[in-house]
Every structure is written in C-alpha cells, then in structure tokens.
C-alpha cells in the first residue's frame, strides 16, 4: 500500500501483525514496545525517522485502550503516574544531552548499546531468580504465591521519612515525594539516553524501587505511556514524520492486541507475569547483541575503507563524505571480497537481530493469548464471577 506522507510502499499484513504482537505484549506488561516496532518498521520499508513517528502515533490509540481497561480494573495510580511524569521529563532531557555529549566524543552508539544490553540482562536475570525463589517457596510451604509486593530496596526506601511524605492510596504505599521524583528522573534519563520510551525500565522501577504491585505497575506505566505517546505523536506529526495510513493500519492490530493483553492480566499470577517479562528482557538483550555484532562488522569494513582511501591520498573529510554515499560504498565493496564478506555478515546479523525480536514478540503474545483463552474457558466452567 502506498503511504502518501513518507512516499514509501509498504505491505499491510506485516504492519497489522507487528502491531498486534507488540500490542498484546504492551497491554500485558505495560510497555510501549518501541524497541521492537521501530526497527521492524524500518525493515518493512519506512525510513527510520518515519518509523519512530508512526510508532509514536499508533501508541496513542493502543495505550488509550489498555489504560482505560487497567483503570477499570483499578490498576492505575494516577497520582503516582503524574509525579513520575514530572521526574521523567527532567530525566529525558538530561539523558538526551548526555547522548549529544557522547556523540561529540564519537562513543554514543556502542556505549548506548552496551548500557542497553547490561540493563536488559541485569533485570532479566534478577526477575528469573525472583521467579525461581517464589516458586521454591510455593513448593516447600505448599501455598500459592500469587505476587510479591515490593522488594528489600523499596521497603528500605519507604522507611526514609524525607518530607514531604505522601500516601498513595491506590498503591497502598507511604513514601517520600523526593524518592518518586528521583526514580522518575533516573528512568527518564535511561529513556532519553537510549532513545526509547523506557517502559521496560520504568515498570520494574515502580515494582522494585517504589514497591508497587506488578499489576498496578503495569497500569500506572501505561498511563504514563499514554501521556508521553500523545505528546510524542503530536510533535512528530507537527514535524511531518507521522504516516497516518501506517499508524492506522498498525493500530487495527495494536488496539485489539493491547486489549487482549490487558484482559489476560486477569488470569495470570503476578509472579508468572514477571517470568514472562524476564523472558522478554533476555530475548531482547540477545536481539540487541546481534545488532551490536552487526555494527562491529560494519565498522570493520568502513575503517578498512578509510585506510584504503587515505592510502589513495584522499583527505579524511572527503573520505567521510565518500563513505556516506551508498553507491560509492557499494562500488568499494565490489572491489574487495573481504569487505564484501563483512558487509554480508553485517546484513545477516542485523536481520538475525530483527527476526529474534519479532519471533520473541510473536512467541510471547501467543503464550499470553493462550493464557487469556484458557482463563476465560476456566472462568466460564467455574461460573464463579460471571456477571458478578
């Protein structure tokens, strides 16, 4: 289908499917999923800037649906979300400025990916361990542990009486305002630094640092995504980087998926949700690692080309211009089989990273939907709460 704003022709079905898969995951975990959708849209044919803008726009509709449903379930702490947004806005600005500073030093991309990978692995492994630990308690004490409220860190932070101390009725927490703002700034910093929405780090921060139960963390984070997505969608549209057709097509799958993902939270224990989130984080870490390997391969042949051009007497400024030109780079690649191999490896690892992300999204959403269907069937059989 022809996209009039970006001027690209993009297949419709993959757009609906990626919207649906990430919608299910987003509604279930309370994340936007930009780290999966943006590269996928780029692979499907959208230039990167349109991929970011179009993703932002479709997030408005997706998060409206799932936030409303979580709110109906009583899983949105509006006061906490608004306070977090204030801190996050400041953090994003600091993060973005840090990236600009690192870009000047020429270290931004590698540094950002390493931090990204480190955060994903650390949180993923911790959540795996936590699931294993709660599962052991269930086995040894013969009782079902449905969810774990807070952590040692959140318990400690809740004892710090730095005024003003506020009571969050919905979350059932009494905590210093400064701690909420600080968590907002730090998670905003990570989001601004990595250039992502930050739901994957904000949602665990709400659980482990502030002490909000899993399902409340999911709903509260979605509310924040709704606010930031609306602002992002509007500002990207204003700058001309939102393809409305692409956003509408993705939203058809995304809104349905987000609603199903949100409904699925009724049927899955908080502890199990953490296990699935851990799988999501570790799988994403593998995807980002594949992208980093692809980046190394690209750097290898580009630096070899720089050396070759320098030997030809071309000054570094001109060489940099040559390497920005795709046709000239292709011509250089054709002349050297080693560079050709490196370029082929780069494409392979890049595609592998994309396929891993998409496979992860498809696999997790299949598990979540099956849980939802099983839950509805069991609920109907039990007949306990139907129409209650």
């Amino acid at each position: 289908m022809y996209m009039p704003v970006s001027g690209e022709t993009v297949a419709v079905l993959p757009l609906i499917m990626i919207g649906f898969f990430v919608g299910v995951i987003g509604g279930f975990f309370g994340i936007g999923g930009a780290f999966i959708i943006t590269p996928a849209l780029n692979i499907f044919g959208f230039p990167m800037i349109y991929a970011v803008g179009t993703d932002m726009a479709h997030m408005i509709g997706k998060s409206t649906v799932s936030t409303f449903r979580h709110w109906k379930f009583g899983h949105v702490d509006v006061v906490l979300a608004l306070l977090m947004i204030a801190g996050t806005a400041v953090g994003i600005e600091i993060g973005a400025r840090t990236v600009i500073w690192l870009t000047v030093l020429g270290m931004a991309e590698t540094f950002m990916r390493f931090i990204f990978i480190l955060i994903l692995w650390t949180m993923g492994i911790y959540m795996f361990w936590e699931y294993y630990y709660t599962n052991r308690i269930s086995m040894t004490e013969h009782r079902i542990v449905k969810d774990v409220a807070g952590s040692r860190l959140s318990s400690l932070l809740q004892t710090l009486n730095i005024p003003p101390v506020i009571t969050l009725k919905r979350s059932g927490i009494r905590i210093s305002l400064w701690i909420i703002l600080l968590v907002g700034v730090l998670t905003g910093f990570v989001a601004g630094f990595l250039g992502v929405g930050g739901g994957f780090v904000r949602m665990p921060a709400l659980m482990y640092v502030i002490g909000v139960p899993m399902k409340l963390a999911v709903g509260t984070d979605l509310f924040q995504i709704l606010v930031s997505g609306t602002y992002g969608g509007f500002t990207y549209s204003l700058k001309g980087y939102v393809d409305i057709y692409g956003a509408i097509i993705m939203l058809v799958g995304g809104a349905a998926g987000a609603q199903l993902g949100t409904i699925a939270t009724r049927y899955v224990f908080g502890t199990k949700m953490r296990l699935y989130f851990a799988i999501c984080l570790c799988g994403s870490a593998l995807g980002v690692m594949a992208k980093q390997i692809s980046f190394y391969k690209q750097q290898a042949y580009l630096s070899a080309m720089k050396g070759y051009l320098a030997a030809q007497g071309i000054d570094p400024g001109q060489a940099a211009e040559v390497l920005k030109n795709e046709e000239k780079v292709s011509a250089l690649l054709a002349a050297n089989p080693v560079w050709q191999q490196l370029a082929a490896d780069e494409k392979l690892w890049n595609a592998l990273g994309g396929v891993m992300m998409l496979g992860l999204a498809a696999g997790l959403s299949a598990i979540i939907i099956s849980k939802c269907i099983i839950g509805i069937i069991v609920e109907k059989k039990r007949g306990v709460v139907l129409g209650a």
Binding site: I60, F73, G74, H75, A255, A256, I263, I374, V384, A388
Partner: protein
C-alpha cells in the same frame, strides 16, 4: 477513491500541519477506543465480566 484520499491527506499535511497533527491524535484515540470496545464486546459476549477486576487466576 484512494487517490482522492491520498490527495486530501497530502493537502492537509502540506497546508495545515497543526490540523494534521491534531487529526492524528484524535483519529488514533478514537479508533483505538472503538477497536478496544469491540474486543470488550466480544469478550463480554463470552460471559466475562470486564467491569470489575476479579482475582480469578488460572496460574
């Protein structure tokens, strides 16, 4: 029909960017809500009460 729609989109996009941006937000929120409510309707038709959260986990 499609060509006319494309031309209209481009007309608004090029001549009234604020209207385009506003329309994106309104269409996204409206369409998202519509699709969400349709899914709700289908799930409710299966006999599930979605107006209240119930601790009815299956694991």
């Amino acid at each position: 029909m499609m060509e006319w729609l494309n031309n209209m989109v481009l007309l608004v996009f090029n001549d009234a960017r604020v209207v385009y941006a506003g329309a994106v937000v309104v269409i996204m929120a409206g369409l998202g809500t519509l699709i969400g409510l349709s899914v709700d309707f289908l799930v409710k038709a299966l006999g599930v009460n979605l107006d209240r959260y119930t601790d009815n986990h299956t694991g």
